[in-house]
């Protein structure tokens, strides 16, 4: 099939002067679940009131609380005490204006956790829709540099597909956020979602959860770590397992124009994974004959990695070598603002060559998100 690959057929960047796109910024609903009530049917408001439901930044048990108390940077607190990420005006000043960010992709994690496991399937459909309307109404108009990734109610793939249809026409929607579950992404469970995303021309945006390894139904590839730090270090294993699944289930053969970005998993792990996938495919191809190209070729045409959290080898030259070996066209810059481990523009990736920086800081994102 001669469908153009995403890397070969970028939309013409309408704003080619953009030099800095941030693919991972976390907004926060201000005021708890009541702020979402205007965006949901009254019977569901009543249901959530009766349940005493609320939104919580952390859905983790004490074992996985950040040892410093919060994942949100204290210096990202707004002037009136608003928690970091909850005041669009302050995010404009503290991130966009201060660092010259031309475009920020917003993704909300509370909705992702609810969609994955914390809400029931029917509740999560209503909640995702309410979250999405909240951000499209209350954040996107606040600044033309904001883009949003609507959260999909992943427990119900048909409803999730309908949500893609509902939000796709909004000009501020850059991708759709598929929170990972313990059903790996190559499963046909997700086909209705991929079908709609492809029809809408929107990439699938996958972000590290917050419920991973804690609840049945969430991704759980790493046993039960004792501490926050162990869980943090191994978070990318979820992405690795899902990427392997996407390749060997033949997802990109079924959906030749599907594009996926893996966010907040870093990327240093991806290079040996590509080597291993290629090698295993050479010897075991007969088990998955629908995998018709080298696995790394699918990745180059369909998958991108958001850069944060950047790994820091002792010798900076090793980092440059890693980027060269993996391929800078696969990388999309992200800060993870306002979280504690964010990568700040102007402070990172400075040793890379100018043309490599231009791709990572803007060009690749402009292509992927068709900005």
């Amino acid at each position: 099939m001669s469908t153009p690959s995403p890397s070969a057929a970028p939309s013409a960047p309408s704003l080619s002067a953009w030099r800095l796109v941030d693919a991972d910024v976390h907004p926060l609903v201000r005021g708890g679940i009541r702020a979402l009530f205007p965006y949901m049917p009254s019977a569901y408001r009543r249901r959530f009131e009766l349940k005493g439901a609320d939104l919580r930044l952390s859905a983790a048990p004490m074992r996985y609380n950040n040892p410093k108390g919060s994942v949100i940077r204290p210096d990202a607190t707004g002037p009136d005490g608003a928690p970091g990420g909850s005041d669009p005006q302050f995010v404009r000043e503290d991130l966009l204006d201060r660092h010259g960010v031309d475009c920020a992709i917003l993704d909300d994690l509370e909705s992702g956790r609810l969609a994955t496991v914390l809400a029931g399937p029917a509740e999560s459909v209503v909640l995702c829709s309410a979250f999405n309307d909240y951000y499209m109404n209350e954040w996107l108009p606040a600044d033309p540099r904001f883009r949003y990734t609507p959260t999909l109610p992943v427990q119900d793939p048909r409803a999730a597909a309908a949500e893609v249809r509902r939000v796709a026409a909004h000009p501020g929607v850059a991708a759709v956020y598929l929170p990972p579950t313990n059903t790996l992404m190559g499963s046909s469970h997700y086909d209705p979602i991929y079908e709609e995303a492809v029809a809408a021309g929107l990439p699938i945006y996958v972000h590290a959860g917050g419920v991973d390894g804690i609840y049945h139904g969430a991704p759980a590839p790493i046993g039960l770590p004792s501490t926050y730090v162990e869980r943090y270090i191994d978070a990318h294993l979820v992405a690795q397992a899902n990427l392997t699944s996407l390749i060997f289930e033949g997802t990109f053969e079924r959906f030749p124009t599907l594009r996926v970005i893996l966010v907040e998993y870093g990327f240093a792990w991806a290079l040996p994974l590509l080597w291993r996938m290629n090698q295993a495919w050479q010897g075991l191809r007969l088990e998955t004959p629908w995998v018709q190209r080298r696995p790394s070729d699918y990745v180059r045409d369909h998958v991108r990695f958001a850069t944060q959290p950047l790994d820091e080898p002792d010798a900076p030259a090793d980092f440059e070598a890693l980027v060269r070996m993996l391929g800078p066209e696969l990388l999309v810059f992200s800060t993870d603002y306002p979280h504690w481990d964010s990568d700040t523009p102007g402070r990172v990736l400075k040793t890379l060559a100018g043309d490599v920086q231009a791709k990572i800081f803007a060009g690749n994102a402009i292509q992927l998100f068709r900005l």
Partner: protein, 123 residues
């Protein structure tokens, strides 16, 4: 050179107030147990406004399962990636990093906080 930065009472106890000195941002804090510290408001890791971090103590290196909290009032923890620095020497604690926080000699003379700045910046 010695630079007067203001009356002792104008600086908080247990957290930093940042002032501009000769083109630098310097954070001044009075310690809960007495004494005063001055540091440059830039984390050597990624340039965070380090004085917005936490001034306190931390867990000391210890055997498995043993927690030993100490160094109260001697540690500044960066608000971004959580790097911890000895407020006196500017060194990253326990050999966790080789980069130093810039510190300045500070003292109170006749009720006035004085900081010593060398040409070139760091003490």
């Amino acid at each position: 050179m010695d630079v007067p930065l203001g009356p002792e009472e104008s600086f908080p106890v247990g957290r930093f107030r940042v002032v501009g000195v000769a083109g630098r941002e310097i954070g001044i804090a009075r310690l809960p147990g007495g004494g005063i510290r001055a540091v440059r408001n830039t984390c050597p890791h990624r340039g965070a406004p380090v004085c917005q971090g936490t001034l306190g103590g931390t867990m000391l290196p210890s055997p498995r399962g043993v927690l030993d909290y100490g160094l109260e009032g001697a540690v500044l923890r960066c608000p971004w990636h959580g790097w911890e620095f000895d407020l006196e020497s500017g060194r990253a604690l326990f050999g966790t990093a080789s980069k130093h926080l810039v510190t300045y000699p500070a003292a109170v003379r006749d009720g006035m906080v004085m900081v010593t700045i060398r040409d070139g910046g760091a003490s």
